[in-house]
Symmetry: D2
Subunit: 451 residues, 4 copies
C-alpha cells in the first residue's frame, strides 16, 4: 500500500471555511475523512491472494473536502499551468480550479502561467494572467486553453525560483506524462529548498492511457468526435466502387480511442492499434486482406491509431538514406502505400481523413464537462489540505488521490485478450493477427463479422 | 455472497463455437473463466469488516464468453422484447443481441416480440418479427425501438404458453423495474413447469437509479440532451428582466439526470430533486428564495426532477375534491404557482421547458452506443452459457452478471451527503435546505455560488 | 415605386472613412451607388403589365456602404435596442452593429438600451450598457440577447426625450411588427421635433412572415431545430402501438416553420397551419382522419403551428363560462381532445412535444450567422448615410433598404396553392382539406403519400 | 431570351395524374402554367436597358407540375445516376426522385445506375439497382450516395445503347460541370438517333459556383461544417504562442465556401481564394503579413480555398523535374512553406486542418434537405412534361428550368468588388491585396479588422 500513500506538506490545522457536516444522516453534505480508501484491484482472486499473504491490498485515498486544511485561503496565492497538446476540457478544469479556490476557500490571488512550463521561465518573458470568477465564467464553452500551452520541460530550478519569487503556495499542473515528470522535478527542488509549496496534478491525456484511473478527461469527447470522422469515412467508402475510408485517430502508445470509436459506430472493418503489430506483405498482411475484399467488390473502413505500425516507418527510414523526413505518419504512409500497391490493378478509391486537430480542439462533451468539474474541485480540496506531489483521478467511479510517482510509473494499453478488444473483433470480424508469425495457428484467424 | 449467485439451467457442456483462447500471453482474446468475480463494495473499511467477521465480501461474476455453453446455437430459437418507456440505446441493444446471436453462436431463428410484454399475449394479436443481421444493421442510428414497446404486465402463464408454443429457448427482456419483476414471474412459471428456457435481462432506466451497477444505458445521452435544454433556459432567463428559466427533467425517484445536467452546464441556480424536500412558503421556501433574487434583479435557472416536490401535488389533490386530475406535473405546477404568486408584484418572466420526449427518443450518444454493444454481447454470452434469471450490468467498469432478484431489491438515489450533491451545492450556491424544518441550524445554509 | 422610397435626414456630404473603390475592374471592393435598385416582383407577367401600363415596376434600393455619408462617426453616439421574443441571431446582429460602427466608422460611443423599449423609459430605471468590440467579440456563440428584451410599447414622447437627452444620433431597433410600429411612432415624434436622429430597423421574426424580403434571420435555425423535435416525435410514434407524435411549432399567423420543418424531415403525416382551417368532427375532420389510421394500426406524426385551429379555442372559450383559462394553446388542446376522444376505444399513445423555447433561444446556425452579419453591416451603412425610418432586408438574394411603413403594411402567409404547400402535400399525402365545407368536391382529396 | 428556352421531346397531351387545381382562390394547390417566367437579372438598370433596346430581358421558365404531361407514368421506365464527388444531399435527391416518380406519376420501374456514368457502360459490368419507395425511405439520414459515384465520362454511344436497350425513357443525372457536358453529349446522341428519351439534370457542386442559380444543394451544409473546422483552428491558434490555425476548404475555382465559412465564424484573420492572387515574398506577401503578426505575438487563423494560389504550385512543379507529385495541395504547401520559413526564427505553432472529406460526406442539413426535396420534385415534373436537356435550379428563390447548355456556359466566382467579399474584408481586416503589383496604391490596403 506504501506506493499509493500521498505526501503532505504538514499537518492540517486550519478549520475549513466550507460549511459542511460530519455526521451521516443529517442530509448535510459531509467532509471526507482522511482514512477513507478504495482498493485498487477489484478482482476477488487478487484480493484473496493479498489476504492469504497477510498483506493489505493496494488502495487509494478518497478525494474530497477535508474538515481541517493546511493553507489559509485568504493568505494563499495559487497558480496553475496547462501543458502539452490541447484536449477537450482544459478550460473546464481551469474554470473549476478558479471557482473552487475563490468561492470555496476565499483565495483571491490566482495566477495563470501562460504556455505551459515556459510560462514559469522568466527569460522567455510570458506575462502571467490574474484569474478570477468573472474571467472564467464562460470559458468552458470554448475548446483549447485560455492559458495557452506548450510542450517540453523547463529547468526545475528556474521554475522554483519563479514560484518562490511570486510567493505561489500551491501550483496546479494540468498535463500528461511529461508534465508530471516535470511536476515531480519541481517537487524535488521544492523539497530540497524546504519550501512550503504544494504541487497538485490533474492528469490530461486524450489517449486515456493512464494507469490506476478509470478514464481521463477529454477521452469521451474524443471518442464521440472520432465517431463522426468514421461516419464520414463510411459514407466515402460506400459511395465509391471498392471504396476505402481510412481514418487516423489519436493514440501514440495505445489504441483506446481507435477501438472505442469503432465500437461506437459498428461499421468499421479493420482497427489497427499500437498494441498489435501488422504486416503489409504476406498472406496475412494488409495488402492480402484488402485484395480479398477487392476481389468480392467490398468497400472497407479502416481505423488506424497514430502509434500503430511504427516499425514500417522505421524500416522505411532505414532504407531511405536521402534524409527524407516527410514520412513518419502512419495514416499518410498507409494511404500512399495502399494507393501505389493497387493502382492500375483494380478500380478502387481511397479517402484519407485525419481529424486529430478537430477532435482535440473541441469543447468538452457534457460527460467530460461534469468530470472536469469534479477533478478541479477535488484538486483544490487536496491542495488546500496540504497534500502535494499527487494527482486526482477517478478509480472505480470514485474520486481519489494518487501519488504522481505512481501515475508516471506505468501506462495502460489495450489488452488484446480482454473484453474491449474481443468486442472489437466481434464487431469488425477482422483477423486476429495480420502477421505471418502469429503466436497461434491461423486456422482460427477471425470471428464472424457483425457489421 | 449468496445473494449475488446467478442461477443456471444446467451444466454447460457444448464447446463454444467462438474462436477464443484460454491462455494469457498469446495475444489471442480469451474466454472468461466461470470463477472470476469482482467485489461489490470497493471501500477498504467495508472490506476489512467482512474479513474480520470471517465473511466473504459480496461479489459479482464477470460477464463474457464461456468456453463451454449450454445451448446449441444452430438449434436454438431466441426471442427478445423491449418494455416500458423508450430510452436512447434500445436499438443498439437489439442490434447487438441479433448480431452476437447470429454471428457469434450461429442462431438463425431470432424472434422479436412487439410492444413489450403485450407481444407475448396472443389474445392481443401482435404479429412477431423475424430478426436478422440485415434488418438491424442501421437501426442504431434511430431513436426509439424498432420492436415497439408498452407499459404494464401480462399474465405469466399466458406468456410462458407463448414461449413454449413458439419453442423459444432464450428470452432477452430489456426494461426497468416493472419489466424485471415480470421477468422474475416468467422465470418462476418456467421453473414451475420445468421448462428449459433462459431469461436474461438488460437493465433499462434512463434515470440511472439501479443499484449495484455504475450506470445504465441511455443515461449519458439523457444528461447531454438535458444540458441543451438548460442552455435554452439560461438564454431565456438572461434575455429577460428577472427571467426565470424552469426546466423539468426526468427522474421519478432520483435526481441523477437533474444533478448531472446541472453539473455539465454550470449555470444553474437551483436544482430540486426527489431526495430533498422543499417548501414553497416560509423563510426558507422557494418563494422567499425567488423573492430575494428578484429584489436584486437576478435571473434564475431552475432544474426540477419530475419526482421532486410530490407532496405539494398531494396536498393539492387532497384539497381538491372535484376529481381534478389535470395537475400532478411538478413542472407545470411550479410554473403556474410561481407565476400567480409574483404576478403584478414584480416585472419578471418565466419560461418553462419540458424536453423529456426529445431526450428519451434520441439515438444513443457514442458512449452509450459503445455501452449498449457491450451489454448486448454480454447478455448473449450469459444466455448461451445457460445462465438465467439474471441481468448484465457494469460495476467498477467491468461487465458483470447480477441476479434479477438482487437488482429489483433496491434503488439508487442521490446521496445528499455525498460527492455529487456537494458538487451541485458548490456549483449552484443554492441553500442546503429549502424548508423551515431542516435537521441543522440555518446559519450555515449554503456554499458560495460558483456560477 | 413611390412607396418603396427611403427617407433621408439630409444630404450625405461627408466622405466615408471606409477605404473602398468606385470603379469596377480594379479588384477593389466598391461603394454602392445610390441609384442601384432591384425590382420587387421578378415575374415576367407582372413586369410586362407595369411596362404596358407605362409604370415603373416597384423596386428597392440596394444596401451597402456609400461614398458619402451623413454622420461624422467620431462625433456620433449610436444606440441599439432588441425587442419582442428572443430569436436566434440577436447577438450576431448586436455584434455586427458594434463592430461596423466602431471599426468601419470610428463610432466610439455605442449605447445598448436594456430590455426592449422599456430601456428607453427612464421611469423604469434600467441602466444602459456601453458597448464596444471587446464586449461583443464572443457573444454570437450564445443564444438570446445580451441586451435583454421585453414586449410592448412605450410612450414615443418619453423615448424621444431619452434619445434627445442622451444625444443619440442613430438608433437601431431589432424587432418585429410591433417594434416597427413603435419605430415609426418614434420617427414621427423625432420629425415633429425636427431632431436629427435616424431610426434603422433590423426585421426580426422567427416566423419568417415579413413581406418583401426573402427570409428573416433566425428562421433557418428554427427550421433546423424544429426538425429535431419532429425526429423525436417520429421515434415516439414508431415505438408505440398506434403512436401519435404531436409537435407544436412557432407560427402565429403563418405556417412557414411547420411546413419547412416537415419538408426537411419527410416523415410527417399531417401539417396543420393557420392558413388552412380544419374540423375536428365530420367525415373530413381530424378525428375521422386519425380513426382511419388507427383502423390500420398506423402511427402518426402531426405538426401543428401555434396559430392553427384558433377557432376551436374560441368556441371553447365561448362555451366555457367558468373562467377556465388553462386552454388557449392549440398543442395542449389537441393533445387533450385527441386523448379523451379515443381513450378506451383503441390502444394508442400520444406524446406531445413543445420545443418552442428550445428553438428560439438557440444560437444562430451558420447560415443565419452569416445573414445577421450582412444585415448588421447594411444597417450601419444605411444609418451612417443619413437614411431613416427604414429597415434592411434581403430580397432576391440582395441586401436592400425598405421603408418601415412598407414592411408593416402586410404579412406573408403560406400560399395554399403555391409550390411550398404543394411540396408538403406531396410529402405527407395528407388531405387537401380537413373540413366538410371545402371549396371543391372531395373526390380529389389528397395526393399519394411520399413518406 | 432565346438562350434560356428549354427543349421539349414533343407536345404534352396526357392529363397529369396529380390531383391539382388550376384556379387561384380555391385553396387547392395549382398546376404551374407553361408561360410563367422569372427574369434572370433583377437590377432595375439592366432591365431598363433591355426595355429601351426593345428587347425582352432574359428570363427562366418556372418549374412545377404541369396539367398535361408527355410520358405515361405507368408505361415509363426512368433511370438515374449520380456522378462526380459526393456532396451532402445526394441521397435526398435520389429519395425525392423515386418518391415523386412513384407516388406522383405512378412510375413503377425506376432504375439506379451505379457509380456514375460508368454504370451505363455494360463493359464495366456494374449491375443496376431497382429503386422503390421502401428502399429509399430513410436514405436521406446518411451521407454519400446509395448509387455510388465515379468521376469521368463514358462514350455517349455506349451509354445511349444502354438506355435504348433498357428502354429508359427518362434519365436524371445528378452532377456538376463535367456531368452536364456528358448529359449534353448524351442528348446529342439521343437526338441523332431520334429517340424519345428525356435528360434532366440536377446541378451538384458543393462549391456553389453555378451561374444563373441562387445556390446549389450541399453548399449550406458545407459552410456549416466548414465553420466547425474553423472553430477548431481558432482553438488551436489561441492555445499556442503565436499559433497559426490553417484550414483548407473546398473551392477549385471559387472561394464561396471559404468566404462564407469565415463570415459565419467571424474569427478568421485571412481568407485566400482563387479569385485573388497572393504573393509569398515581398512587402505585401504572406510571409511579411505573418511576420508582422508574429512581431506583436498574435495568433492567426487562415482559411484557404483549395484553388487559391495555384501559381505557386505551378512554379514548384516547373522547378522540380524529378517527378515529385507529392505537392499540388495548397494547404500542405502553405503548411510546409510557412513552417520552414519561420522555423528557428520565432516560437510559433502551425496546425493544419483539412476537413474536406468530413464535409462532403455529411448528410444534408435541414435547409439543404428541403432544397433537395424541391429540386427532385421539380426535376420529375419537368421530365414527365417532356422537357429535356435542361436542369432545375433556384433563381430568386423560385424553382426554374434552365437549359443545360446555358448552365455549362459560365461559372460564378466571388466578385472581389461585391458585397460578400467586402463583408469578408470588414470582418477579417485583411489586406485588400497580398501582392506587390496591385491595381491601386497601397496606402489604402485594408479595412479595420472586426474580429
Amino acid at each position: 500500500m506504501n506506493d499509493l500513500t500521498v505526501e503532505k506538506l504538514g499537518p492540517a490545522k486550519i478549520p475549513s471555511p466550507i460549511n459542511l457536516g460530519t455526521e451521516p444522516g443529517d442530509l448535510l453534505a459531509d467532509f471526507v475523512p482522511d482514512g477513507k480508501r478504495v482498493i485498487a484491484d477489484v478482482c476477488v482472486d487478487t484480493l484473496k491472494k493479498y489476504i492469504s499473504d497477510g498483506q493489505d491490498p493496494p488502495s487509494m485515498e478518497l478525494a474530497g473536502p477535508r474538515q481541517h486544511i493546511y493553507f489559509d485561503g485568504l493568505k494563499l496565492r495559487a497558480g496553475m499551468v496547462t501543458c502539452g497538446g490541447i484536449c477537450p476540457g482544459l478550460n473546464n478544469v481551469i474554470r473549476g480550479l478558479v471557482m473552487t479556490l475563490h468561492h470555496g476557500y476565499g483565495v483571491k490571488e490566482i495566477v495563470g502561467f501562460k504556455y505551459g512550463y515556459s510560462g514559469l521561465n522568466p527569460s522567455i518573458g510570458h506575462p502571467t494572467v490574474d484569474l478570477n470568477p468573472d474571467m472564467v465564467r464562460n470559458i468552458h464553452t470554448m475548446g483549447g486553453t485560455i492559458l495557452g500551452t506548450s510542450r517540453g520541460p523547463q529547468e526545475p530550478k528556474v521554475m522554483v525560483d519563479t514560484l518562490e519569487k511570486m510567493k505561489i503556495g500551491l501550483l496546479f499542473t494540468v498535463g500528461g506524462d511529461g508534465t508530471f515528470r516535470g511536476a515531480l522535478a519541481l517537487h524535488e527542488e521544492i523539497r530540497r529548498r524546504g519550501l512550503d509549496i504544494g504541487i497538485i496534478g490533474i492528469p490530461k491525456t486524450i489517449d486515456n492511457d493512464i494507469a490506476l484511473v478509470d478514464k481521463t478527461f477529454g477521452f469521451e469527447t474524443a471518442v464521440g468526435l472520432a465517431s463522426d470522422a468514421i461516419k464520414a469515412a463510411y459514407s466515402e467508402a460506400r459511395s465509391a466502387e471498392r471504396g476505402i475510408g481510412l481514418v487516423k485517430l489519436m493514440g501514440r502508445n495505445s489504441g483506446f480511442i481507435a477501438a472505442n470509436a469503432a465500437l461506437a459506430m459498428r461499421n468499421v472493418n479493420l482497427v489497427l492499434i499500437p498494441e498489435l503489430p501488422f504486416d503489409l506483405e504476406g498472406d496475412n498482411g494488409l495488402y492480402a486482406y484488402l485484395g480479398r475484399r477487392f476481389d468480392v467488390g467490398k468497400s472497407t473502413v479502416i481505423v488506424v491509431a497514430e502509434g500503430a505500425g511504427q516499425r514500417h516507418l522505421e524500416n522505411l527510414r532505414g532504407s531511405d538514406a536521402s534524409g527524407n523526413v516527410a514520412l513518419g505518419d502512419i495514416g499518410i504512409f498507409l494511404k500512399e502505400r495502399i494507393s501505389s500497391r493497387f493502382k492500375g490493378k483494380v478500380r478502387f478509391t481511397l479517402k484519407y481523413i485525419d481529424p486529430s486537430y478537430i477532435i482535440r480542439s473541441a469543447p468538452a462533451c457534457p460527460t467530460d464537462a461534469i468530470f472536469c468539474g469534479y477533478l478541479a474541485q477535488a484538486a483544490v480540496h487536496a491542495g488546500m489540505s496540504g497534500r502535494t506531489a499527487m494527482a486526482v483521478g477517478r478509480s472505480h467511479s470514485m474520486l481519489t488521490h494518487i501519488p504522481i510517482s505512481a501515475l508516471v510509473a506505468e501506462r495502460k494499453t489495450v489488452d488484446p485478450e480482454g473484453e474491449m478488444w474481443l468486442s472489437v473483433l466481434e464487431s469488425t470480424g477482422q483477423p486476429f493477427y495480420m502477421t505471418d508469425n502469429p503466436p497461434k495457428e491461423l486456422s482460427r484467424n477471425s470471428l464472424a463479422p457483425q457489421l
